[in-house]
Amino acid sequence: MALLQISEPGQTPEPHQAKRAVGIDLGTTNSLVATVRSGVAQTLADLDGEHILPSVVHYGEHGVQVGFPARAAALDDPHNTIFSAKRMMGRGLDDVTALGGLLPYQLVAGAGMPQIETRRGLVSPVEVSAAILRKLADRAQETLGGDLDGAVITVPAYFDDAQRQATKDAARLAGLKVYRLLNEPTAAAVAYGLDQGGEGVVAVYDLGGGTFDISILRLEKGVFEVLATGGDTTLGGDDMDHLVACWLLQQAGVDESTIDAQQQRMAMIEACRAKEALTDAAQVDVHFGQWHGTLSRAQFNELVDSLIDRTIRAFKRTIRDAGLKVGDIDEVVMVGGSTRVPRVRERVESFSARAPLTSIDPDKVVAVGAALQANVLAGNKSAEDMLLLDVIPLSLGLETMGGLMEKVIHRNTTIPVSRAQEFTTYKDGQTAMVIHVYQGERELIKDNRSLAHFELRGIPPMPAGGAKVRVTFQVDADGLLSVGAEELSTGVKSSIQVKPSYGLGDAEITQMLQDSFAHAGDDRNARALREQQVEADRVAEALAAALAKDGQSLLSEQEYALLLADLEKLKQCRATADARTIAAEIDRIGKATEEFAARRMNQGIRQALSGQKVDDLEKF
């Protein structure tokens, strides 16, 4: 077997087969999947030649449909056709209700996130997103001829922890291995940056169907460093449609509160049609019911200007956060279908005094950038060429006395980041402490988003101010937070991976997975075994590659032989054992390779600093 050959000293491992890695743009209105083939990133089409998959899921009498057929079903069956699920991801019922007429669904308060009542039962936004992801993954698997190794999934840069976690949950539900959650504007910058070999300061203005992002990046020698990011996760093309729809109803003399979901949907469709027609035409005929009229571009501009104002204001603020002036911006990149609206381009151009870049299809640019990043992460392409340094969009902190927010990590801090802060007790003899984690910029916690809370118990009774509790925040490269707390004098530890209050617990995900297998008539045990086997293969491959690359230089002969034996054992186990045994073996290998992993990191650091080759380094 190929894996054994690499144990021979001095032998180069066989070039491994390119991984099947994709980038997925999971959009509010439309979604796409892209991959790199023969060095070129391109979006993948379905059998009808369509690249775009409408982010719509129809829960029909005879089954679940995704994409164009679902969208077509919307008019006849609005309550069972879910649009814009992204706007509900990681949000509470109140947030979603506040979106008002945009979402004509029967919502039920679920465990955290709202659930939507459909004829096929209650579905959560995570499940809707998972259905969309699965559809795209199937398309990619058919095109690429096999199971996917991993995916980069894009999220709005301004998504908070709960929204990111919900997106990752959806991927898990869809059976996808997530290499990375990548911010949409960063993905677009990658697509343009690599395309044009750019250097300098780039602003990415990303106005999608339901979200607005603005990111300022510095490009230098293949490093994409995000300086600041801002935006609004409740602002997009949908809102333009809604404003136009309201105007239509008003003109037609219809009271918005009296119409049903179907009429509402019709108004939105007509509004969207008018908006798109006005991209090229100076005016367009519109109708609603018996009413006919015209909408001129000037009228349309007036309707949407307040929305564009909000984006320009965020643009200004983000430039300031980056410590720059408008004049420092070298290029402005336009992303998202809503940037096709001429008024948007005019306003951005007049504000930035730059003709915005639009050469890459604004609908596809995010997926293309995600595919490029997926290709690098999968190891198909040398990581030397590109490095993305992104930031956290919103500050993270804790509730302190008086309902105040104590920020531990400030927004626009480069991730990954780890930061600790010490707190103390305020009462004599206090033995427990509630750690309540929030995200947001406001001074009072009630104005920020609650992410999680947990208790640290077993603090030894001391006078007020005697105990020292260190709370550590760790944000990973996906922008996801975990929090740990420790009482320093006794070492009482308490740690959690923050599960947002609006997110799903592990138990719920497992339940959903089981439900979906039940529907698919799949055998749960077989599925669990298959998952562990895939994971075992991944671990074995990673270890084999690491041994081939650094085993000779970083390990003693004995250590090398031991790890090689471990690798062999894992492969045997994978071939013969059940899911639980394989999982245990994977865990054992993980512990056995810890020291090797640390040495590899240190070697990387030394090489980075000295520019030396592996051969020149001292042998352990």
Binding site: G150, P416, S418, A477, K591, M601, I605
Partner: protein, 182 residues
């Protein structure tokens, strides 16, 4: 062997000093992140990924600390065994406090001025100048190993950096107000 308790200057192969070659710092930072960033370990074992997150976080923290003059100064004092505890109330020089109070008064009256933008700009320039003067003074004390005095300067600098942040906030409010009137 590199470890996470290493001092930040050594990590970037820079001499321990008040002044820092920003270009060298930035290029070493990029080289280090290329080596340790989680994106390099996306297909590796979970442990290797966790390790990478720790290292990359450490490199980010080190970079941010050395990049900014104030955090760099605080860090230099810490290396010299003086932890500047921000929360601790210390007796400040009366003259300094007097000047600070006057400055704050000017800031609070700013919005009622006839030309708040110009006034804001003047104040910002003044505070910037003060910070620069502090840095020079800190450097002198640090070289002379007069750590007590160096610490006093750092505390004063913290006052002024906070004030700068408030001024920036005011500026953004003024700018936003302008936008609203558009």
């Amino acid at each position: 062997m590199v470890d996470l308790t290493q001092n930040y200057f050594e990590l970037f192969a820079l001499p321990v000093s008040c002044q820092i070659d920003q270009q060298q710092l930035a290029s070493q930072y990029r080289a280090l992140q290329r080596a340790v960033h989680p994106d390099r370990f996306a297909v590796d074992s979970e442990r290797q990924q966790r390790l990478s997150v720790q290292y990359a976080s450490f490199v980010n923290e080190a970079f941010n600390t050395l990049k900014q003059p104030l955090s760099r100064a605080i860090y230099l004092l810490r290396l010299a065994g003086r932890d500047v505890d921000m929360e601790r109330n210390t007796v400040m020089d009366a003259q300094f406090l007097m000047t600070q109070m006057e400055l704050r008064e000017e800031v609070s009256e700013l919005k009622t001025q006839a030309n708040p933008e110009a006034e804001l700009e003047r104040l910002m320039a003044q505070v910037d100048g003060d910070i620069t003067a502090c840095l020079t003074s800190f450097e002198q004390h640090w070289h002379a190993q007069e750590l007590e005095q160096a610490e006093t300067i750092v505390r004063q600098m913290q006052f002024m950096v906070k004030l700068t942040a408030e001024l920036a906030q005011l500026e953004s409010e003024l700018l936003d107000g302008e936008q609203e009137r558009d």
